[in-house]
Amino acid sequence: MKPSLVDLPLGQHAKIVSIDCERRLSRRLMEMGLLPGTRVRLVRVAPFGDPVELRVRNYSLSLRRAEAAKIAVRPEGEA
């Protein structure tokens, strides 16, 4: 099981490996600059536990947990 965005500890940088949600959403995310190889970081979790906020390409984006879980990542520093 590949780790996803929501598995990252807060503040840990990682690179996106793949986005595996339905086409419309994955296309939207890609067009907003979330592509394989793009550097992301989980910034915070909303007070009620959902959604989450991530930092990518110098801007902040919030996504629900369910969607963020479909973005597979490789934490930086791992091979």
Binding site: E31, G33, L35, A46, F48, Y59, R64
Partner: protein, 721 residues
């Protein structure tokens, strides 16, 4: 849409990039707000002189790309591909270039003349960003102009560049992005099909259009494309998928690869230290402090709408009453006087009375939106809203519903997707608005005066129950509407959290004022017409017999009265009774009688029925209508004679009409029924058709009737009442 003669220049850009600020700066705030045909997305435009040419500047809805995935984005895409679009000013937030340049790149690639406005350059410089705009212009083959829209910096250079682009020949050079070999082969296969469909366009356009079709396949935007083109695109797309390729990824990743190279060549690295926004967010979205601040801000809005608007509303009501007295003094008594006083002036008053709350709410929302906090509100509360199928951004409109549904319905336009907006708009009129309160007070004062339930007064328990019930029913209605009437995927939540910025007071005011003007013109005319219609319904036909009878009675009093004071008193009482009798004789009064059999099972009689009909103007009118029905004359919710008359009212069998049980039934009815023509009018305006307000009225009325029936019949079975 707009006439072909006037060439358009569009202002496009991502949400939160300062697009509207730039629009206002260029147009000097003198915008025309219209509607895109068939949908209720505002089309804001202004005419502008560029060099020798007069153009129409259009502010298109915010978008991230030309691949439309919502009707709003579709409009933006349509506007871009329209024949009379001469050029596009693409606004980019300079602090988010790495993503923000995607849209202008796509626009330039499509061959339309573009001027890129790098907005918020001051903020970018603060975080240490340097941009080589000259080199960026070369790479993009389009002018890139640094601007600060809020401070009107760089506007001259922008207009100059725009003028050059308008003069330039139609064949603009575009940056050539290298796509994977397989993709180029696919594009080459589609190009001839497109060339057959659109032989008049340049060959480079066929290529761009092929890419756009591949990316937009399956979306509504492809509807206008002929079947053979669509089939060609679909079969090539299928073949690619079958070989494990991801065409979306190939296209988008190639563009971003080109962009990343361009950005790293022209932009300095940003300061990696946490930004000011980051530090603010640590507080504002903190699990404890954040929730506390959230509650305080929401309470502030609530308080302003409830209490802050009160003096203004009072002043408008006083002014309306003053105008009515003046008109009554000038005009001779009769139908014309009644029409002017009770129809036209009352109707105009009914419209203007909403102005304070609308202005306040939109100043607040504008502040929250432009400062960036509205996105955080959605972020904080989305978890709760999601449970009933609503978007986090539905929270502020729902909360505003406690004050008044009219500004609250207008506030739903902060929600991007139409479906989400409709669900919110159709559920929030169930929130217990301030116009219901006088009715609760009248009922409680009539049937629960001095009673208590344990430690609490019965009235307080009743009031508290009404407010709790309204929240529960609103959320339940949203959940049900989402699953039945407007089914569809739960709203996705892909929301950019813009950096915090201090909003410009001028822009806030321009926008709030614009919203108010739209309301006064569009919804106002409907409200005025309905007020006059309702007046006629409750005034005609007049009975000559009743008039004669009361004239005779007056004669008798004039002659037999012993003192001047007793005469005035008797005559006044007579006026009240005559108005009551005439009302009973009117169409509305007869209708009240006619529906009495349907009202009995929920504990009402015909008099309350007439009150309900009158209350369609606005809920609080129920009380003044009852005052007339009972022959008391003018009355408010604290009126003692009205309370006594209600307590004394009897059904035909001699049983009292108003019991605690029928009182609860009446409160529940008013809580749930859509007794408000202004809500109907504003939902018509905001949803763009009569279909949704009719649905709203029907479902709320049925719900109200069934709930009151359950309360009254259930209560009787349990031995109450």
């Amino acid at each position: 849409m707009s006439d072909k003669a006037s060439p358009q220049v569009l202002i496009a850009g991502n949400p939160n990039c300062g697009k509207s600020t730039l629009f206002n700066a260029l147009s000097g705030g003198s915008a025309h707000v219209g509607n895109y045909p068939g949908v209720t997305v505002d089309r804001t435009s202004a005419s502008l002189r560029i060099g020798s040419e007069k153009i129409e500047l259009v502010d298109v809805p915010g978008m991230y790309s030309l691949t439309a995935s919502s009707p709003e984005e579709q409009l933006a895409v349509n506007a871009l591909t329209e024949g009379n679009t001469r050029a596009v000013i693409c606004v980019v937030d300079a602090t988010t270039l790495e993503r923000g340049l995607y849209l202008p790149l796509q626009l330039i690639e499509s061959g339309v003349p573009v001027v890129v406005a790098l907005n918020m350059m001051d903020a970018a410089e603060q975080i240490g960003l340097r941009v080589d705009t000259e080199r960026l212009s070369e790479l993009f083959a389009a002018p890139v102009i640094p601007v600060v829209a809020t401070k009107r910096r760089g506007l001259d250079a922008l207009l100059e560049a725009l003028e050059k682009q308008l003069e330039a020949s139609s064949d603009v050079s575009t940056p050539r992005i290298s796509y994977p070999v397989e993709l180029e082969a696919d594009v080459a296969a589609i190009e001839p099909v497109i060339a057959r469909w659109r032989p008049e366009t340049a060959a480079s356009q066929h290529r761009v259009f092929a890419l756009w079709c591949l990316l937009s396949l399956g979306e509504d935007s492809l509807r206008g494309v002929p079947d053979d083109v669509r089939q060609a695109v679909a079969s090539i797309h299928e073949a690619a998928v079958a070989r494990g390729r991801n065409i979306d990824l190939e296209i988008i990743a190639s563009r971003y690869a080109w962009l990343d190279a361009a950005v790293s060549e022209t932009c300095s690295v940003q300061d990696p230290r946490p930004s000011r926004s980051e530090r603010i967010d640590r507080v504002l979205t903190h699990p404890i402090a954040g929730l506390l601040i959230f509650a305080v801000v929401m309470f502030g809005i609530f308080e302003a709408l409830f209490a802050g608007a009160e003096p203004f509303i009072g002043a408008i009501e006083t002014a309306t009453a003053f105008m009515q007295t003046q008109a009554a003094a000038i005009l001779p008594p009769g139908v014309l006087q009644d029409l002017v006083v009770e129809g036209i002036i009352a109707g105009v008053g009914n419209v203007i009375v909403f102005a304070p709350q609308i202005l306040m709410l939109f100043l607040f929302i504008g502040f929250l939106e432009d400062s960036g906090y509205l996105a955080r509100v959605a972020f904080v509360i989305d978890r709760v809203m999601k449970k009933v199928g609503l978007h986090g951004k539905a929270f502020v409109p729902l909360l505003s519903g406690f004050a008044c549904a009219v500004p609250a319905v207008m506030a739903t336009r902060t929600i991007e997707r139409r479906r989400d907006r409709l669900v919110t708009m159709l559920a929030l009129p169930l929130m217990s608005c301030s116009a219901r309160l006088p009715i609760y007070i009248l009922v409680v004062g009539t049937v629960f005066a001095g009673q208590s339930l344990g430690w609490f007064s019965a009235g307080a328990v009743a009031l508290f129950s009404m407010y709790t019930l309204s929240v529960l029913v609103t959320l339940a209605a949203a959940a049900v509407i989402r699953r039945t009437v407007l089914p569809g995927p739960a709203p996705t939540f892909v929301l950019e959290m813009p950096p915090y910025r201090w909003p410009s007071a001028r822009i806030l005011w321009i926008n709030a004022w614009r919203r108010l003007r739209i309301f006064l013109v569009d919804a106002g005319t409907i409200i005025l017409a309905m007020t006059i219609l309702l007046w006629a319904l409750l005034s005609f036909p007049k009975s000559a017999e009743i008039t004669e009878r009361y004239a005779a009675e007056r004669e008798r009093i004039e002659q037999t009265a012993t003192s001047e004071s007793s005469k005035t008193e008797a005559l006044q009482a007579l006026d009240g009774q005559e108005a009551g009798d005439q009302l009973a004789h009117s169409l509305g009064g007869r209708f009240g009688h006619a529906i009495e059999p349907a009202l009995r099972p929920i504990g009402f009689d015909w008099q309350i029925g007439v009150g309900i009909i009158g209350a369609f103007a606005a809920r609080e009118v129920f009380i003044s209508t009852l005052g007339v029905v009972f022959g008391i004359g003018e009355a408010d919710e604290e009126n003692k004679p009205l309370r006594q008359a209600l307590r004394d009212a009897r059904h035909a069998d001699g049983s009292p009409v108003m019991t605690p049980l029928s009182g609860v039934s009446l409160m529940v009815f008013f809580l749930l029924a859509c007794q408000c023509m202004s809500t109907i009018a504003v939902v018509k305006r905001e949803s763009g058709s009569w279909k949704w307000p009719l649905f709203l009225f029907t479902y709320m009325t049925v719900l109200a009737y069934l709930a009151s029936l359950a309360v009254y019949q259930g209560g009787q079975l349990l031995g109450y009442g």
